[in-house]
Symmetry: C2
């Protein structure tokens, strides 16, 4: 599932030549040429590494393959396939097995169509060399086999196990779009050997300490708090001390020995110091170190592959000029950009051209052309400094003295402070008892205040700017307030109509009310910085979310087969079996005493929640002992295994990622390309004031609009302004590349490989 | 206690000039000159930053101040002062208060003498400007005042509180030798502002979630497992959710809500994701980032200060030569090195000279001279390839065929493997029941085998090389085996004499037996690498040990005053009060039910163990609730405060340090100076084979001795060989400097400051 993927599987130059595509001379470029070049650029921009066929039919198929609709559909069917677990036995909502299997067949059909489509796009021998294609085919075939066996068993009234369900999340990893996820899996696999040696050493230390505990403490005839013998069984000691490393049974495991003598505390403190603090730090260090190292290598290759693709696009579009370097002229370039990214405005495209063609030559060489993919990835916000619609409608009113005073008031710092205070008062009111009529009615007052705020802001600021794509807090505010208004109106109309008040609606109103308070964070600059950093690394964290989903799903499937219905939850019933979760084997265990009956593997939702609890680690020994009690001692291995994989490996990689992303955010200067783009914007006097770059967009809007609102707008100001959303990344890859940019040579675009005539696969040389 | 210390408080050039010290001309250097230069070099070598007076008397006093004896005495008295807590009420071993106060007076006297000595060494105005001196004086005065008040109260039969005990650990921080510790405190203080903002944001998130929990869940009328109302008190919810961030009450705190509805699980999972995973990673990131940044700055200043001192030493010893750069000749240099480090062998000194004086000019300039401090810090092991003493005694026997065969056998890889197997068998035997006579007697067999191993090795290898300073495992082996032999003999003679077998002796024997097994680790190269890294960063970790000691001591003192004797431990008595730890307020609490009675603040040892348990975090809410139950709810603040300081700040700094140290160890190349020294060693053909540099010393010994043992020792090989213990650091500072060496300019030795005539304090410019 995480086979070493050649991330630079891009078409060979010779393949292009072989198909007779003009790569020299000044022949007019055909539509096919532009399609091909556009695909190269778009692949470079999004770091797609698909070795597609360059024949016009294949290119057309490839364009369709990359269309957003089939991609969304694919993900929808993967999610549908995964969510079948909700309806299959053991089910949250039971459905007959023929229904779920019919849906699964439909999903399999979609996956097959997708893979066939893919097979038509890329050359046959490449298709069969790629591990992820084979993986998908094997998953489809195995699932079919499993369904047939299960159906046959079912028909003959035997119980079958749907074992192929474990394979489902692997589809998420192996579809072509799962690049980030595959990379995360690769970084785990690369770190494994080193983690393994540290883990062995850790196990050795664990065994030595267990032996010492057995001999030193086991002989004393001590008993635990339940009266059972203490530290007398070697295997149990190993498990107990392993649990101690996760701190879950501290200090309980120490107490009997500590009660017997102060000196035994030294044993445990030494153990915790060595195995918990030292070894766990070393795990993090090893994981972090490997992660950084391999990621750097991957990103390096990614950048080389990207430059290759751009060079190839250049080769397609270049004009051969006698005695001079080949170049691409502006007309072709324009058409290319229009094809690659139709939503780029003309002004923006001209700006990009002027960055590339710095000397106004009307054509650009290879070096300048190669930048295009990165340039397109830099988000340039085109600020149209439009006048406020009210100003256009009735300028006299909007420009009148009271109106201008109002604008000034709303833009004043005090306005923000007043509303922060209102939010704080609101927080207190929420905390108070809502049975009180005064409090209940105050909600209306607060709602109107918030609505008033939004309306005032809309009066002062240009509405389209106010609701621009990047004004996170404006959107947040408006959605929350409007939703709260609607929900409150529904609720009061239901109450006044004498209908029973719906608990859910009340809950939603309450959540919306509390969420409103979060707005305060945006007023304090320090907080905004931290929050913005978190929002920025958010998409990358989602990759880890997928990773966790895959691992959880596999463990949930296995866990459900092993432990389903061994532990029962009785809810509010007064069944005496409730005290021991419906399984007499649990009588007297901590599991039953702590009322953990709902922590079970009886359906996929319970399983996932239980796995979250295991990830949080605390009390996982009680849970594992509980499930061991109802099955077999070896069941503990399932839980230990989960702990090693999720907590020691994945969580550490997650922490490593957050650390690295934070350091980059803290210390990074804008990248080379962004700076050259910004320089150009400034040169052309199109820039929004520098300090606003640091601030969020709403403030930038304010600066512009206030100039206009107060009529001081100088006429020599261009009506179109640019601003680089320098801290946003369109793709996770861009964040990663930025992470390691400082180590990459900007001039190295694999020219060497070009000269060697070996153009296709830098990784083969690198390896 | 952690005032910004000017780490570059070194004497001003002008001060030296003022005292009439010859700093030019070819006048013969006096003993005073050499003393002064030696102090500068030694200060540079050990990064001491003391602004001492340069008058001959002050220099003599300063030499005495730096002598090891008063330093050891000072630390002894600090430890004595700290350990008084064992004997003071609440005491482990009660002593009358006049006895402890007498000892404390003695300690104060020693500290006073030391500070007076220091005051005589450095200029008066510098003394009073230094916060750490004032700190020490204030501590001494306050302690005296406290003792007088306490004595007076005691005499008039009132109860007094010895509040000045909290100040004791601050002495450890503020003595001149506590450089590392002060640096650790500084790095914490520097990180605090940033941590504070993240913490505020975290608290905001905690408050918002608590409010939501109160409104969403508190209204449902749910009860906890004990039947008490669930999530109805806002303050309790905040505490519970704070505890959940530490994972200590997961999943218990969730269970009542989860049992009521699946949807509440989403609330808790979101909470854990945001506050536990995201925020805790951000804390680590912020701490790590700050730590790295400030440490770099400090080390940079440290290096500048060091170079300043070396330049000053150079100024004292230089010969003014017409029209040429001043230089230091070899004779003066030799005398200086002999004075600074008397234990350096002549050969080693000549090697160092040839590194400095690369062109054999007989004198060295400033640039070469400045290296001396770093060169002295590189540990060069002088390997005298001596013949084995037995060879000298009876060469015919030692060179005979059987003897040579024996040598070959012992040096063979199989020898190591055989002994590893023996150790494994031994491990199994230790695990088996020792009541069995066969097992009991086997111990003698194993002991003899281990003894035999050591004797064989001593036969083959030169004994002084075998027991050289760096042969950690040889020392380890021998000490363990000999101790085990002695303990076993004592034990059996006692048993055979019919005396009751002492449990302690048996325990010691057992521990020694188990420790023997650790030796296996050394046989596996991967493990050896990890262990060696850990051993190398060990001394630096000790600084954190001191840091923890200081914080623990303060918290233990406060905790003892707040909570002493509120909870009692009854041991094996059958007193019914045992069930509730002697305090009826604890009846029915988790604290009593989990039998945590011995986790109390009734003496300093219990307090420390309790604080370790709190550091491990698990169940800290049960402990804090217990102590809150016997005093007041606000007592929980003590525990929360401890958690914030120790777990969020200090442990994170510890992890950051281990991470950084590990990365350096993994990735570092040998530093510039070491390489030049190594180059010289190789040039002079004095090097031990390169690959042995990587390996541990025993193997290096083997290579040499086997050459000689088998008589193949070529006569053209020098009898003296050098080897750089490249991976060892004499001082923690050296490790730190190496950490950031790549960012430091080797040529920058503050010449600029020199030219500006402002020589003394680079930090004033830097700031």
């Amino acid at each position: 599932m995480s086979e070493p993927e050649k991330i630079e599987d891009i078409p060979d130059e010779s393949a292009g030549k072989g198909k007779g595509i003009p790569n020299g001379g000044n022949a007019a470029k055909t539509k096919e040429d532009f399609d091909l070049a556009a695909i190269y650029v778009s692949d470079a921009q999004y770091n797609r590494n698909i070795y597609f066929d360059t024949s016009p039919e294949a290119v057309r198929l490839y364009l369709r393959y990359n269309h957003w609709l089939p991609q969304v559909l694919l993900y929808f069917f993967i999610l549908l396939d995964l969510s079948l677990a909700v309806f299959e036995d053991p089910a949250v909502i039971p459905l007959p097995s023929w229904a779920t299997m019919l849906v699964e067949l439909l999903c399999l059909l979609v996956f097959t169509i997708r893979i066939v489509h893919y097979a038509k796009v890329i050359p046959r021998e490449k298709f069969w060399k790629d591990a992820k294609n084979i993986c998908i085919i094997v998953i489809i075939v195995l699932t079919l086999v499993d369904m047939i066996i299960y159906g046959a068993l079912k028909a003959s009234d035997y119980d079958g196990v749907r074992w192929s369900r474990v394979l489902r999340p692997l589809l998420l990893v192996n579809v072509t779009e799962g690049r980030q996820l595959r990379r995360a899996f690769r970084s785990i696999r690369n770190a494994l050997p080193q983690i393994f040696y540290v883990f062995l050493l850790f196990m050795f230390s664990l065994l030595i300490f267990s032996l010492m505990a057995l001999k030193l403490i086991g002989k004393r005839g001590l008993t635990t708090i339940n009266g059972s013998p203490y530290f007398t069984n070697y295997l149990e000691i190993i498990f107990d001390l392993y649990v101690l490393v996760t701190t879950a049974n501290s200090p309980d495991i120490m107490m009997p020995a500590y009660n017997a003598s102060y000196f035994f505390a030294i044993f445990f403190i030494l153990y915790i110091l060595i195995n918990n603090y030292i070894f766990m730090s070393v795990f993090l260090a090893v994981v972090y170190n490997n992660y950084k190292y391999h990621l750097k290598e991957e990103v390096r290759q990614l950048v080389r592959a990207k430059r290759h693709k751009m060079v190839r696009a250049f080769a397609v579009l270049q004009d051969q000029r006698e005695g001079r370097e080949p170049a691409v002229n502006q007309a072709n370039w324009n058409q290319l950009v229009r094809l690659v990214q139709p939503d780029v405005s003309n002004a923006h495209r001209e700006l990009l051209w002027s960055v590339c063609d710095n000397n106004n030559q009307g054509h650009i060489g290879k070096v300048a052309f190669v930048q295009l993919a990165d340039l397109l990835n830099i988000e340039v916000i085109t600020l149209k400094s439009r006048p406020h619609p009210l100003q256009s409608l009735c300028p006299s009113l909007y420009q009148s003295a009271p109106s201008r005073l109002l604008c000034k008031l709303v833009q004043h710092r005090a306005f923000v402070i007043v509303y922060d205070l209102i939010i704080l008062v609101n927080a207190v009111f929420i905390g108070l008892d809502e049975k009180n009529t005064l409090i209940a009615n105050s909600e209306w007052a607060f709602l109107s205040l918030y609505l008033l705020e939004i309306l005032l802001k809309l009066y002062v600021f240009e509405p389209r700017a106010f609701f621009s794509k990047h004004s996170f807090w404006n959107w947040f505010d408006t959605i929350i307030v409007i939703s709260a208004l609607i929900a409150t109106i529904i609720n009061s109309s239901m109450t006044s109509a004498g209908i029973y008040t719906n608990r859910q609606i009340l809950d939603i109103i309450l959540i919306l009310r509390v969420l409103r308070l979060i707005r305060v964070v945006d007023s304090i600059k320090r907080f905004r910085t931290i929050i913005n950093t978190l929002i920025r690394i958010g998409p990358a964290i989602l990759t880890f979310g997928q990773l966790i989903l895959v691992v959880y799903y596999v463990f949930a499937m296995v866990g459900m087969e092993l432990f389903k219905n061994k532990v029962k939850f009785y809810g509010n019933s007064s069944d005496p079996a409730k005290a021991y979760c419906g399984n007499v084997l649990l009588k007297g265990t901590d599991f039953a005493q702590l009322n953990y009956c709902k922590n079970n593997f009886n359906n996929v939702v319970s399983s996932f929640i239980l796995l979250v609890e295991l990830t949080v680690v605390n009390q996982w020994h009680v849970l594992s002992s509980g499930f061991a009690a109802v099955t077999h001692v070896s069941a503990k291995l399932f839980f230990v295994f989960f702990h090693i994989i999720v907590v020691i490996v994945i969580i550490n990689i997650f922490v490593a990622f957050v650390l690295e992303a934070f350091f980059v955010e803290y210390s990074v200067d804008k990248s080379h390309l962004q700076t050259s783009l910004e320089k150009k914007i400034e040169e052309l006097e199109l820039a929004v004031a520098q300090e606003t770059l640091e601030d969020n967009l709403v403030n930038a809007m304010e600066t512009i609009d206030s100039d206009q609102g107060t009529g001081q707008s100088a006429n020599n100001k261009p009506t179109l302004m640019f601003k680089i959303a320098s801290k946003r990344y369109r793709t996770v890859d861009a964040l990663l590349q930025r992470m390691f940019e400082s180590d990459l040579d900007p001039e190295d675009f694999a020219e060497n490989d070009d000269q060697n005539g070996n153009f296709a696969n830098p990784a083969f040389n690198a390896a």
